[in-house]
Every structure is written in structure tokens, then in C-alpha cells.
């Protein structure tokens, strides 16, 4: 620790005004505050500074993502060995997945942070930690086999078009991680959907066991087939899928952590689940074909629903801000997810579109909640 402090102190004059590297001031400042608690004090007035700043918030979310990440890594190896007809130990499975996903995570963070630093430097803003969570969310919602250059351009697109154009961290309309995913989904559908992308090695097709299918439940539903796995498997998550979103259990653990620390909004998570469940039950009651009859509970377990509802929909920047608005926002995400899955199976991953759509509508929801509140109170004055 002492060594680090001394090194930083020694380097500091170079980055101050007038120093050789003063144009990199924001980067240095960002690194220093990343390693040490900043000793900025309030200069005027009586402001109360909460200990939970942006950095700690971001770090908490990263912590909440760790169970899903670790499980996802293991599952990648497990699915690969299953497809190859081999049995591997817990550690081998994990190591395989770790080596497979590490480059994706490194590219995502490298490109994203690089661009963020560049923009902060250009605008003369201090560097903030806004990308820490997005950098991990992006790899977790992508297929394990995704080419690295795609990760790079999707991350660049998300950071520049999804975030910096609107003014950087805290100003974005859309969730950056989902912006990256939807970009890839529309730009390169061949790499982002179908039966071959969800398990490592299926695309090469070498040494696959006869009769093995990497189809996901949503992929099967898209062609009008029933679910072939049990609800329990879907809940536990040992099924093919994107890196971090197969296991509803691991997302749930992360979600509980977010709720306890007060970072994620439990209203949004709960209303999303209720919305999807309600819509699913209505469609079940109508019945008629395989899409309508898909059990409402299973809607919550398959695909990226749990991951999206817990980590993406609750993004405090792009979600609704008012208390009542959060319920409306969450419920509509749930309802839209099921509607997209049932009525437009060509786009199987409904939760992604549902969240992005509601991101766009969140300010409108807030606007009407505030307005109705004003009207209610005005009418009380008149009476």
C-alpha cells in the first residue's frame, strides 16, 4: 500500500497543470481515486456526502454478478464436454469456461474503458466508474463462441452511440449493455441466434456426439416445439445459453444481494416478474397453440428473463425514477417480454427488446406519474 502511495505521489507532478503529461490528467486522477479513497472535501455550504458513491455502487453490482459469472464459466465447460460426449471434473469444466470467456471480458473492458477514458479526456471531465458494470454485463449476455472483434465493435457502439452521445455516464437513455447486445443481434443474427451458437465448438462441428442439439428452449419455441428440459434444469441453469444468464438461481442470489444492499430496486424486479407471470397466465387461460400454452412459470426461468429483470431492468439510469413509475415500468417489461416471445417467435429473446423499449418510455411514465400526483394534490386544494 505504502509503495503504491509513494509511486503515485512521485508521478503526480507530471500530471498536474503544466506537467509533461498534463493532458492525461483525467486518467491519472481516475487511477488514483480508483486505488485510494479520494480526499475531496466539500468547500462551501453544508453538504452531506454519502459514503456510497458511484464507485461503491458499481462495485456492489459487480459483486452481485459474480455468482452468475462463475456459474456461467462452469456451465460453458460443462456444455462443451456434454456436446463432445466427454465427462470432465468440476475444475476442468470451470477452467475451460474461464479460458473461453476471459478474452471476451478483457476485450469488453479494454475497448469500453479505453473509449470512456478518451471521451473524458477530450471533454476535460473527471473519469468515472460508469463502465465497470457494463463491461461485465456485455460478455455475460453474449454467446460463448462470439468472435472477439464483434465484442469490440458492439462495445464501441454501446459506449459511443448508447452513452457518450447523450453526455456520458448517467445521461444515457438506453442500457449500454443491452445496446451492445441488440446491435450484435441485428447486425450479425447468424452469430447471435440459432441452435449452434450457444455451446462452444458447435459451429466448427468437430467431434459432436450424434443427435446432440444445442437448441435453447426459446429457439425451440420459435419453431413451435415444446420445452425439452425440466423446469428444474432451467432454474439451475445447466442448459445451453449466453454466458451468464442461464441460471435463474445465480441471478436470484445476485438479486437478493442487490436488494439487501439497497442498490437494485426490488419494486422493478418484483413487478417485472408479476407482469410476466400475469401475462403468461392470461395466455395460458386462452390457450390454443404451443406458444399460448407455454407455462407461465417457465417464462420466468428460460432465456435471459431472470438476468434481464434483475441486472438490466434495474439499471438506475435508464429505469423509471418515481415509486409508482417503477411498478408500471417493471410490469410492462414483464408483459412485453411474454408478448414478444409468444406473438413474435422470430425474435426469441423478448426480454432484451422489452427492456430497451421501456427504457425509452421510462421518462414518459415518470412524467405522467408526477403529473397525476400534481393533479391529485391540486384537486385537494380546490375541494
Amino acid at each position: 500500500m505504502k509503495f503504491l502511495r509513494n509511486t503515485l505521489d512521485k508521478l503526480k507532478p507530471n500530471f498536474e497543470k503544466g506537467g509533461k503529461l498534463s493532458f492525461l490528467h483525467s486518467v491519472f486522477d481516475g487511477m488514483e481515486t480508483f486505488m485510494f479513497v479520494p480526499n475531496h472535501t466539500t468547500k462551501t455550504g453544508s453538504h452531506i456526502r454519502d459514503g456510497i458513491d458511484l464507485k461503491r455502487t458499481m462495485f456492489m453490482v459487480v459483486l452481485a454478478l459474480i455468482p452468475a459469472t462463475l456459474f456461467g464459466m462452469w456451465n460453458e465447460g460443462y456444455q462443451y464436454h456434454l456436446a463432445m460426449g466427454q465427462t470432465a471434473s468440476l475444475f476442468d469444466n470451470f477452467l475451460f469456461g474461464f479460458l473461453q470467456s476471459l478474452p471476451i471480458i478483457v476485450v469488453s473492458y479494454g475497448v469500453g474503458l479505453g473509449l470512456e477514458f478518451m471521451f473524458c479526456q477530450m471533454k476535460g471531465h473527471p473519469i468515472n466508474e460508469g463502465f465497470l458494470v457494463s463491461g461485465l454485463l456485455i460478455p455475460l449476455c453474449l454467446p460463448p463462441d462470439i468472435p472477439l472483434w464483434m465484442v469490440a465493435i458492439a462495445t464501441a457502439f454501446a459506449v459511443i452511440v448508447g452513452k457518450e452521445i447523450f453526455g456520458g455516464t448517467g445521461m444515457n437513455v438506453l442500457n449500454p449493455a443491452l445496446t451492445a447486445r441488440v446491435f450484435l443481434y441485428i447486425a450479425y443474427p447468424g452469430e447471435m441466434s440459432g441452435d449452434l451458437v450457444w455451446v462452444t465448438g458447435l459451429k466448427e462441428g468437430v467431434g459432436i456426439v450424434d443427435g446432440y442439439s444445442g437448441a435453447t428452449t426459446l429457439g425451440l419455441l420459435a419453431v413451435g416445439k415444446e420445452m425439452t428440459i425440466s423446469s428444474w434444469d432451467a432454474f439451475m441453469g445447466w442448459i445451453p445459453g449466453s454466458m451468464g444468464e442461464t441460471s435463474a438461481l445465480m441471478c436470484l442470489i445476485g438479486g437478493i444481494f442487490l436488494i439487501i444492499t439497497g442498490i437494485g430496486s426490488w419494486q422493478i424486479m418484483l413487478s417485472t416478474v408479476l407482469g410476466a407471470l400475469g401475462m403468461g397466465m392470461i395466455l395460458n387461460a386462452v390457450g390454443g397453440n404451443v406458444y399460448y400454452d407455454f407455462p407461465a412459470v417457465n417464462h420466468l426461468l428460460i432465456g435471459g428473463f431472470a438476468f434481464g429483470a434483475i441486472f438490466m431492468a434495474t439499471d438506475p439510469v435508464s429505469a423509471a425514477q418515481t415509486a409508482r413509475g417503477k411498478w408500471i415500468y417493471g410490469a410492462l417489461i414483464g408483459i412485453l417480454t411474454v408478448l414478444i416471445r409468444v406473438f413474435n417467435p422470430a425474435y426469441p429473446e423478448g426480454i432484451m427488446f422489452a427492456i430497451l423499449l421501456m427504457n425509452v418510455f421510462a421518462p414518459l411514465v415518470d412524467y405522467y406519474v408526477v403529473k397525476s400526483n400534481i393533479n391529485r394534490r391540486l384537486s385537494r386544494v380546490k375541494a
Binding site: V161, I186, A187, Y188
Partner: protein, 220 residues
């Protein structure tokens, strides 16, 4: 401004003005950058998004629009003193529609494939805001020659943006230029740039670049 007022203003001008005087040159240069119909006035965006997937149809579209704007500006400017102002819009529409019909027939006769690709968007030049906008804002109050120059200038301003957008969309979207695979046969097409969404984003980035260059600041 009434017609009389306009004519008195015109009489006050020197009778012989060089064809490409500084003022007339400005009519062409201004719409290319500082007063661009697409990136500054944000007119005619619909066709800019729809026809810019490939460069060749884009080029035909650009030529068509430039012709229609220039000729309709000329015709309306010639008639500007006889058009009753209460029915001027319908007269303008009539002139534009006739010109577009001619252009459309020409395309169908001599460039049938392109005409197929452009589909309704040639016909929709009639409702292109740039055409109507120039007629209302310029041709109705100016002499024929400056009106033609203004039409050509705006047509070129429109064309420039469309060609830039189409260049990037065709190059990055399908890896080709003018139909030739310049990025190799194995280039994986980018679906975002192939769809109008990509054009919208490309246009936005272009406006960003232009504003950064010209030092644009938001009006408070």
C-alpha cells in the same frame, strides 16, 4: 411580402450582375455546408434513410432530386408574378408532380433495375420537403437564374450527404462499393447498416462531425 414590394426591391438592383457573382456562388456553396438541407435543416430525411443502402441507386436518386429541385425552382420563379398567392401550393405541387413524373418515366425507360430498387421513393420526391421548401422560401421571391442556382446548390447539398451515407453503408454493410466486393468475398455483412436504422445512426454521426467542425453550440 406582396408582389409589388418584391418587384420594387428588384428594380433597385443593378441591372447587370455577373452570372457567378459572389452572391450567386453563395447560393451553391451555402447548402453544401453551413445551410445543408439534410444535416442542418433536417429536411428530406425520409428518402435519405430509405435509398442509401447501395451507392448506385443513391446516385440516381441524387441526380433526380437535383434535377427536380433546379427545374421546379426555375419554372416557379418564371411564374412567380402570375401565381395567385392563395393557390400557390397547389400550383407548386402541380409543377413538381409533372417533373417527377417525367423523371420517373425516364428512369423506367433507361434504368429499369434502378427504378425498381428506388420503388416509391422517386414518386415521393413530390413530397420531399427540400423541393417544397426551396419553392416557398426562394423561387417565389427571386429571379429565375438565382433560383436555378439555389436549386442546384440544395440538390448538391442533399446529394453530398446521401453519397457519404451510402458510401459507408455499402462499404461496411455489405463490404462492396458500386456493387464490387472491395472487402473480399468473406466479409460478413452488417445488418444494422443494411437497415434504415443504420442510416439514421450514420446520419446522426455525420451531423455530429459537422457540428464539431463548425463549432455549433446549442441555442439556450
Amino acid at each position: 411580402m406582396s408582389a409589388e414590394a418584391i418587384s420594387t426591391v428588384e428594380k433597385a438592383k443593378p441591372a447587370s450582375e455577373p452570372l457567378f457573382s459572389k452572391k450567386n456562388r453563395k447560393l451553391i456553396n451555402n447548402p453544401l455546408d453551413a445551410d445543408n438541407p439534410i444535416t442542418v435543416q433536417v429536411l428530406g430525411v425520409c428518402s435519405a434513410l430509405a435509398v442509401t443502402v447501395k451507392l448506385i441507386p443513391t446516385l440516381y436518386m441524387c441526380i433526380s432530386v437535383t434535377l427536380v429541385v433546379a427545374l421546379s425552382n426555375l419554372l416557379i420563379s418564371l411564374m412567380r408574378k402570375v401565381i395567385p398567392s392563395r393557390i400557390r401550393i397547389i400550383v407548386q405541387l402541380l409543377v413538381v408532380a409533372s417533373l417527377v413524373a417525367v423523371v420517373d418515366q425516364m428512369l423506367q425507360a433507361y434504368a429499369y433495375d434502378v427504378s425498381k430498387q428506388l420503388s416509391v421513393f422517386v414518386g415521393l420526391i413530390i413530397t420531399n420537403c427540400i423541393v417544397m421548401g426551396r419553392l416557398e422560401a426562394f423561387a417565389l421571391a427571386n429571379k429565375p437564374w438565382p433560383s436555378v442556382l439555389d436549386g442546384i446548390g440544395n440538390g448538391l447539398g442533399y446529394s453530398m450527404i446521401l453519397i457519404i451515407v451510402a458510401f459507408f453503408r455499402e462499404l461496411l454493410g455489405s463490404g462492396s462499393l458500386f456493387g464490387y466486393k472491395v472487402l473480399g468475398e468473406n466479409y460478413l455483412g452488417n445488418g444494422v447498416l443494411m437497415s434504415p436504422v443504420g442510416a439514421c445512426i450514420a446520419l446522426g454521426l455525420l451531423i455530429w462531425a459537422q457540428r464539431a467542425r463548425n463549432g455549433y453550440t446549442e441555442e439556450a
